[in-house]
Symmetry: C2
Subunit: 603 residues, 2 copies
């Protein structure tokens, strides 16, 4: 026992030394935030972490410690450790999946624990395997609501395979945290949310060992190890000192000497318990289709298509933010209860859980009102950095929802989700398009987003027609002017084209159901053949369909006059027709704009 | 006493009846979520709410109850009540400030309480007045992390002028909440976060009265009244029934009869305690300025400018997400400690607190890394619906931050914040521009955002030059090709223009420091006189500067070839120069693009 104790202490010192060395080599980084947690990680890798466990550094700025741990466990060598933060290195400033076995990117505080809860949910309810999820959290990030959102959800789900290790070093970036070293304050909060919580001295390796052992025995609830630590532990010049956040030590050599010098200890992470992930049964399932002329809400088509996809593919899972009877993911729940996750009104945890599930190879679709995806925007941003494959469904787009008013209307979702790296943004205008696109999303890498409508639209796309990411369709033929529409505005654009036809103006309606990537060839053809373009969207003018069209044509030889129709004033309550008319995105508004452009062209 | 009890019961019934009537007239709405809270509100307005108090419905979908209360307190008449949710009515589907005295829009759950905490902070530390803040919360929204973020912060601040009334009606939109009627679960959580919590029967008006009286006497901590209620209380067809969320009652007349029929009770809200808001002393203060050629980080200029503004104007306050030594709001804290608010790493609460302070007429500037404003995106979206005047500062923009890696790099902030209704988006390239724009933001209505840089840039703008929202400046003269840049890329664009000059290509560099509104006249002149445009930004290609330029020229007579340079691959760690070069947004990349366009024009 004493030998083990000594080894762990030495290992902790090695992790500190390597954190100091890596940061010194980089000339930047967070060594002091690493040194506080070194003993916690030393004990974990020495005797608890198994090869099939997941370990997420929610305090991603402790990346020096993370990489020092990868070295100690044989994942990287010392030379690579010293590439920290340099161009081309796999060891980025904050961990990313570029360096295996890193599951997700962290560095935006308050996200690692919600994702860890997602992995733990996958372990229990999907994989049905005994691996554990460990999550190193900082005390500063305990100010983030997302942590408590996750703590509440994990407590409710009774995730006894999840252990949060909270490194209470008391010092944030500029000052003491709200709770300082009030470990009881953390314990009270955690217990109130249904967790088991153990307060320990985070530099007493024996106490840490006992705490981890206890965590592994607790049933029916997650455990938090709340550890009192010293920031910069082990080096007097920085230990427990304010003003030492996020910078290399002034004298690394002296610090390394004070820590007892370099060591070359290594740890073999314990073998996995093994077992194969659970596989859900599948059945022959036809994707749904509708007859031309049917009136169907695309959100309903989403629910039906997802349910059919879930029947055909056991890897597909659904999550919803307690609005499943609005998004229609309730159909999936009813058909595939085992693979449905109720995330309650907690959009950050919903997205994080989906990220955690895709870490394990599952194919999650997460749905809520499109407006409320904005609550999880930072999580979606980080999911892209995590190279996560994530499918989001946002219903109730735009002013066309009507009476509920602007708080429920997504009007910035296309813009914000187009600006996610590698994203796909889809906005089908009818049920058949929706069904095809939902199926395509299952195989789409990166973040894909489908925007669905509250109200019904006419089915215009034949069930057998090719509908694909990056595609579009001509909803009305013409060559005097082009109208590029999506979602609810396609019906309006077709009505406008019919009106214009009666006036001798032939308008082409392009249904741009794939906004990112957009169908550049169809737009170039429209520009060339029609000479002027009206874009129309139930969205603010910035960053949506209109901007996507302008971008697609920016370097084209044909750069026609483009008039963007969009929602320009803050909407109110009203009927869908009244609000679309008021915003100038209904058939009247479209016909006026297209008529003016067509006449300009002639004149 | 018994008379008072009867009156309150009757008043509660009236609020129910009017909620049912308003929803019936609208054909939509949330009467059952209103009926659960009717007694809580009846007692509040009868004997606790004063005219200078603030009452925020965090559960904004209980708008029928809110409007019924406005009628009972003489703010609207019965005819207006029945305009609920109709076009032109001030009574929108969820409350907005269109109907006084509504402070803010609600309807995105989990936001009302954080804003209420902001108003309560303003009361204590800014206004220094005895008004109270009451906040009606739903139990479903207790799943949102933002509620606990706020509960933690309010507990830490000891906001004894804040009372949360939690309407525990047990039923969410589709199912029972996580806690159901486990009032103790809520009480334990709240107490753990430093609140006083009182569990009551939410339909016992005497018990409610006692709870409110108790709340008013508690010192040094906020109070929560945790009320067990029945959704749809008083009408058997819906009372405590699942599936009755968000729809009018099937038989309104029968329900009204069951509730005892219409009443016409009215309440005079108690007179305010009075007192004038505190006024902070001011002093002569010169906005800072720098000499041409100085190398200064715009984030540092932000800190200096804000500090000077705070000296000159007592209404200016600053909030920061515990990164004040990075954003440089620490200078403001040091100079004006009374008006600085440390929000810790809690961006949602930070933005919500700023919204609450501007409700009271203060002029808040809230700062963090621009990347982390994405955490508060839904709050910013709702702030626009609240018609809030809010100033946001986001530092550490783009890949030019270097080694910290992509989690810390704002690359979607211009896009997402352009897509906020009525927003202003500024990205100065040097310190003098920053100082002028910070001063301009103080008087700018709506949401304004200034994006600052981690690294230093050369001061190119003379201190006396006109710098204004909607403006731009020519950083290099030329007319063979135009380069539109902003922020860090202006230096690079000027260097590129100098290289091109040596090749006989005369490039105009437009410094578009105001991205929204953008200087359309300067861009049209560039299009007309230069014939081709390169845009360059340290941001994803979608929704940023390039799209703003394309939009400005979409309907112009001159629609030149526009080549957008932006960050197109996921960045890694590296030096700022390496990363900007890798993204093709440095002087080399800009020169290549501009050269190609200039030659195309000739050829």
């Amino acid at each position: 026992m004493a030998e083990r104790t000594d080894f762990r202490r030495e290992l902790g010192q090695q992790l500190r030394v390597d954190s100091v060395r890596a940061s010194a080599a980089a000339g930047s980084g967070h060594p002091t935030s690493s040194m506080s947690a070194a003993d916690l990680i030393a004990v974990l890798i020495d005797s608890h972490l198994r090869a099939d466990d997941h370990l997420i550094f929610s305090k991603g700025h402790a990346s020096p410690l993370y990489y020092a741990m990868l070295k100690a466990t044989g994942r990287i060598d010392d030379a690579e450790l010293l590439t920290f933060r340099k161009l081309g290195s796999r060891l980025e400033g904050h961990p990313t999946p570029r360096i295996p076995p890193t599951d997700v990117a962290t560095g935006s505080l308050g996200q690692g624990l919600p994702i860890a809860a997602g992995v733990a949910l996958a372990a229990k309810r999907l994989d049905r395997l005994p691996y554990r999820v460990w999550c190193l959290c900082g005390d500063s990030e305990m100010a983030e609501g997302s942590m408590w959102e996750s703590i509440q959800h994990a407590g409710w789900e009774g995730l006894d395979n999840l252990t949060a290790i909270i490194d209470v070093n008391r010092l944030g970036q500029t000052r003491e945290t709200m709770l300082g070293w009030d470990l009881d304050g953390y314990v009270r909060r955690l217990e109130a949310f249904g967790w088991h919580a153990i307060a320990v001295d985070g530099h007493d390796v024996d106490a840490i060992e006992l705490a981890y052992e206890e965590a592994e025995t607790i049933r029916d609830r997650p455990t938090a190890v709340v550890a009192r630590t010293l920031k910069g532990r082990g080096v007097k010049a920085v230990e427990d000192q304010p003003g030492k956040h996020g910078k290399p030590l002034d004298d690394a050599d002296e610090a390394i000497a004070e820590l007892g010098g370099e060591r070359d200890l290594s740890v073999r992470v314990a073998a996995p318990e093994g077992g194969e992930p659970h596989v859900f049964g599948t059945a022959e399932a036809q994707p749904p289709s509708w007859d031309l002329g049917d009136e169907v809400a695309t959100r309903l088509a989403y629910g039906e298509a997802l349910t059919a996809l879930g029947a055909a593919r056991g890897d597909v899972v659904a999550l919803d933010g307690e609005v499943s009877n609005s998004t229609h993911s309730e159909m999936f729940r009813e058909a595939h209860e085992d693979r449905y996750f109720e995330m309650f009104i907690a959009e950050q945890q919903m997205v994080a859980a989906a990220v955690g599930m895709q870490v394990r190879g599952w194919t999650p679709f997460a749905s809520t009102f499109a407006a409320f995806l904005s609550r999880a925007y930072d999580f979606i941003r980080m999911a892209a950095i995590s190279r996560a494959d994530l499918r989001l469904s946002g219903s109730h787009a735009g002013v066309s929802i009507g009476e509920d008013g602007p708080s429920q209307m997504a009007l910035e979702d296309i813009a914000s989700l187009r600006a996610i790296h590698g994203s796909t943004v889809l906005h089908p205008s009818d049920a058949n398009q929706t069904a095809r696109l939902v199926a395509a999303m299952a195989d789409q890498p990166g973040i894909s987003f489908i925007r669905t409508l509250r109200g019904k639209t006419q089915v215009r796309t034949p069930a057998g027609e090719d509908v694909r990411i990056g595609g579009s369709r001509i909803a009305h033929e013409g060559d005097d002017v082009a109208i590029v529409a999506c979602g609810i505005t396609v019906d309006q654009a077709v009505a406008a084209a019919e009106t214009l036809a009666g006036e001798g103006i032939s308008a082409r309606v392009v249904d741009a159901y794939s906004i990112k990537p957009i169908d550049g060839a169809a737009l170039e053809a429209a520009a060339r053949e029609c000479g002027a373009i009206v874009t129309v969207e139930d969205h603010w003018p910035e960053g949506g369909l209109g901007d996507a069209v302008l971008e697609a044509l920016a370097e084209s030889d044909d750069r026609p006059h483009v008039r963007k129709l969009a929602v320009r004033e803050m909407p109110t309550s009203g009927t869908p027709d009244e609000l679309m008319h008021g915003a100038g995105i209904d058939a009247d508004g479209i016909a006026d704009a297209a008529r003016a452009l067509a006449r300009e062209k002639v004149g």
